[in-house]
Amino acid sequence: MTTPTPIAPQPGDHHDLVENTENAIELKEVEGLSQGRIVLRRFVRHRGAMIAAIVLLGIVVLATTSIGWGPIPGWWKHTPQDMSPIANPRGAPTLSFSGGLVVGEHPFGQDNIGQDTFARVMRGTQQSLLVMVIIGALATTIGIVMGALAGFFRGHLDNVLMRLTDMVITIPVVMIGAILGFWVGGASPVTLAVALSLVTWTSMARLVRGEFLSLREREFVDAARVAGASSFRIMFKHMLPNAIGVIIVNTTLLMAAAILLETALSFLGFGIRYPDVSLGQLINEYQTAFATRPWLFWWPGLFIVSIALCVNFIGDGLRDAFDPRQRRIPSKRKMAKG
């Protein structure tokens, strides 16, 4: 055999060469990126989630700037409580698309006493979003702490915390929410949101507990313990970031559920009450007008559905982005081109 060996004789070269070929193809996709950047990139490529994020952002901007937030005035000419002369017969919406977009004086219409529906819907959206964000943040925090403690320490603490969770779960949320809401709901949307957080953290606690139970068997937890880390550090520095995927996803689902819960309570009259406005409360207030003035019904409904859908879509996108096993497979046509 005269064939020379084509591989360089340097042993060091061999090593690098060989080690780099290992799982090289899988690595092409994530080369030089941190975990956060990978997640962001996957999320941006999720079309549904991106559209939902933009729509939700639009709703937030519209709701906060149009009628203003607190003492800051907005650009819209009416306030939710203003009563102005009826523009169209029966206060029908002035918004029309015949011959170009016409906004008019009352685009979403007016009710029987001349209040501007657009202003009222914007105010309701603000309240509903506020409730949603507070419940999202507070219930998530309670759930994480409960679940993390139960999952990490197991034993008696786990039993106590999980039985407490079971107890909260067995009571229907709407019922307990109605009672709590009845006591404190009249005060302000913030107290209502805090009260609702106290009954909606259960799913998060169970999820985090499950995640922690499986994470604590992973060797890096043992490695951290051998390195001398305290239980607190292991829980919040090592394990929590690894559970962040499910936490974020569940938070979005929780927020979508929260907005529906607030709507349901307000509709039943146990949530935010007159003269303050929320989307559910609007529907409640106008339920008798459905046959004569349907716009009073449609607009708040449209906003409830859009917000809940958007948040759900974003959660969907986040779940896909956080799941490393979920690889985006390009279409056959696209692959054929490449």
């Binding site: 080690e19 070929t21 290992e22 690889r327």
Partner: protein, 664 residues
């Protein structure tokens, strides 16, 4: 050398023609021209599979990346073709493309003809007729490849009834027959068992039975023994060798272990970066390797007996025989640990000393406590490397975890550099962790995926307040240098590194506090053989430099041989044998040690054949002895039973028959 070409005699089955040694493969050697090697043919068998210019590509980020390029080979009936290469060499993907099992973003090109029928480009429906019937696959992990909610029998019956018009009763009979074929104990009962009720080796046997269900023309075995212990691996290899003589299929054996290849293969293909770099008969590859990469792969396999044979006598550090160790009085009752850095007298203490050490997994509910480690005595001197070997479930990892304080000591005493671990207080344990550390088995799991590796390495230093800020950075860089990783890697995340690199990070973290006692828990068993060789090299180098004492846990005696000066053998929670390396390897006393020794495959077909026969003889001898034991015991119980009966009869007679009393 001529004897190595002989086919080993087969214990069972009909006589079979000698497998062909004729090679008609297009061999591409690096950049050289294709070479056709023609070896003299003993006898020509019908070729089953002809693969020509097979290519596999993956679509990633708008580009096609090749995983296999111009792969050509032929498989004949009744022969074993081994495809050897490291992870990522394309050996698995090129074989999986034959039956259309590529990921969605993959595509195959070229041609693969199974008995003249083209497989590449077949529609899904036609392919599913080929899968299982004409081509069957034995997967690496029998636990994940078998469905845990169905019995083994059900899964075999399902395969049979999918492809043949066969009644449930007949299919079940056939399933039992298949399980008998693969030597599963009491097949009539095993057929109704769920996968979790079988041991790892038995599961793999069931998997093989399922693969054989439809008499496939071609059997693809994808690393069939990588997930198994050495002793179980030897059994499965024996089964595969037996099967080869009993069935008429061609077998493609995919593996990275040259030892397995030496045991089984007729012909060998060596793949690297998607290309075939060398092809030839087993004899050619092992005795006259042409390509540098093949030689590198061969050198990487730890060759049992090589170190011991080459080492001059008495080079090993003076071994501390446990029996003669001046045992320090154990203060388990008071549980007061002495300072690690104490007086000069304590400097002479061994790095680790276990006396009648018992470790238990506590009872949970109705499950009783499980004694994983049962009264073992083991001593490790300062700077000494002791190998702890045994199969999975023998309790060796449990010992390692107890040493670093991850598991409590249930009985006896375990002293680490003078600190008693039984009943240790948390504060003392934290202090002790300055001096002990562990390298875990799976580097993919032991590094926090959300932390950059620099932070992982620096964490022990930070937590023990030894270094911070710029000093910490410098220490981390030094550690990276020591394990031969680029300093720039410190900001990378674990998923961006290869398996070997990750394990280097694991070692760097373990060395961060310059421990006096290091536990290495199978640090290389999750790695490819060639990567393993380099990690072991690095480990030796670091041990020389730092001089830490080490408990090296492994199931592979060949690996332990390279590193350890003394070896302890564990079996079912007990220490069955320990002694200096040479003694254990040359003159093992315990049956289990002997079995373990003969189970390790060596990368040399001729030598492997001798070892294999020695192993069979040993097992037979043991079986005979066991049989004798059983026979004796049975006889004894019989005798006892007879005696008991006699006694009772006598007492009955003495007391008179009680049943008669009322009448009397």
């Amino acid at each position: 050398m001529a004897s190595s070409l002989q086919i080993p005699p087969r214990p069972r089955g009909p006589a079979r023609p000698v497998p062909p040694v004729r090679i008609a493969t297009h061999v591409r050697k690096g950049h050289g021209p294709p070479v056709v090697t023609e070896a003299p043919a003993a006898q020509e068998n019908a070729s089953i599979l002809e693969v020509a210019d097979l290519g596999v590509e993956f679509y990633v980020e708008g580009e096609w990346f090749p995983a296999a390029i111009d792969v050509s080979y032929t498989v004949r009936s009744g022969e074993v073709l081994a495809i050897v290469g490291e992870s990522g060499s394309g050996k698995t993907q090129s074989s999986m493309s034959l039956i259309g099992l590529l990921p969605q973003n993959g595509r195959a090109s070229g041609s693969a003809k199974l008995l003249g029928r083209e497989l590449i480009g077949l529609k899904h429906k036609q392919l599913s007729k080929v899968r299982g019937k004409d081509v069957a696959v034995i997967f690496q992990e029998p636990m994940t490849a078998l469905n845990p909610v169905y019995t083994v029998g059900f899964q075999i019956v399902e395969t049979l009834r999918t492809h043949f018009d066969i009644g449930p009763k007949a299919a079940r009979e056939r399933a039992v027959e298949l399980l008998r074929l693969v030597d599963l104990p009491s097949p009539e009962k095993s057929v109704d068992k769920y996968p979790h009720q079988l041991s790892g080796g038995q599961r793999q046997r069931a998997m093989i039975a399922q693969a054989l269900a439809c008499d496939p023309k071609l059997l693809i075995a994808d690393e069939p023994t990588t997930a198994l212990d050495v002793t179980v691996q030897a059994e499965i290899l024996k089964l595969l060798r037996d099967l080869r003589s009993r069935i008429d299929s061609g077998i493609i054996l995919i593996t990275h272990d040259m030892g397995v290849v030496a045991d089984l293969a007729d012909r060998v293909i060596v793949m690297k970066s998607g290309r075939i770099v060398e092809a030839g008969t087993a004899d050619e590859i092992f005795n006259r390797p042409q390509h540098a990469y093949t030689r590198q792969l061969l050198d990487a396999v730890p060759h049992l007996g090589r170190t011991v044979a080459g080492a001059p006598e008495g080079s090993a550090t003076p071994a501390l025989a446990t029996s003669s160790t001046t045992a320090t009085p154990v203060t388990a009752a008071t549980g007061r640990p002495e300072s690690m850095m104490g007086t000069a007298a304590q400097q002479d203490l061994p790095a680790m000393q276990a006396e009648k050490l018992v470790i238990e997994y506590p009872s949970r509910g109705r499950v009783p406590a499980f004694r994983a480690v049962d009264e073992i005595d083991l001593t490790i001197g300062r700077g000494e490397v002791v190998g702890l070997v045994g199969e999975s479930g023998s309790g060796k990892t449990t010992v390692g975890r107890a040493v670093v304080g991850l598991l409590p000591v249930a009985g006896g005493s375990l002293s680490i550099g003078g600190t008693e671990m039984a009943g240790i207080r948390p504060k003392d344990l934290r202090e002790l962790r300055n001096h002990v550390s562990i390298v875990f088995q799976d580097p993919g799991s032991s590094l926090n995926p959300r932390l950059p590796i620099g932070e992982s390495i620096g964490e022990p230093l930070k937590l023990h307040k030894i270094a911070k800020g710029a000093d910490l950075n410098k220490r981390v860089e030094t550690l990276l240098d020591q394990v031969h990783l680029a300093r720039g890697m410190r900001n990378r995340y674990p998923h961006e590194l290869s398996g070997g690199q990750r394990q280097r990070v694991g070692i760097a973290r373990a060395l961060a506090l310059s421990p006096k006692m290091l536990v290495a828990d199978e640090p290389t068993s999750a790695l490819d053989v060639s990567v393993q060789a380099r990690v072991l090299e690095l480990f030796q180098e670091l041990q020389r430099e730092h001089g830490f004492a080490c408990l090296f846990i492994s199931h592979d005696l060949a690996v332990v041989e390279i590193l350890a000066t003394r070896i302890a053998v564990m079996h079912k929670g007990k220490l069955v044998e320990q002694g200096p390396r040479d003694q254990i390897l040359r003159d093992p006393q315990h049956d289990y040690t002997r079995r373990l020794l003969t189970a390790v495959p060596v990368p040399d077909p001729a030598e492997q054949k001798i070892r294999r026969e020695a192993r069979d003889a040993l097992l037979e001898e043991e079986a005979v002895r066991m049989g004798l034991h059983t026979a004796q015991r049975a006889a004894r119980t019989d005798r006892e039973a007879v005696e008991r009966n006699e006694q009772r009869l006598q007492s009955d007679n003495a007391a008179g028959d009680p049943r008669r009393l009322p009448r009397g």
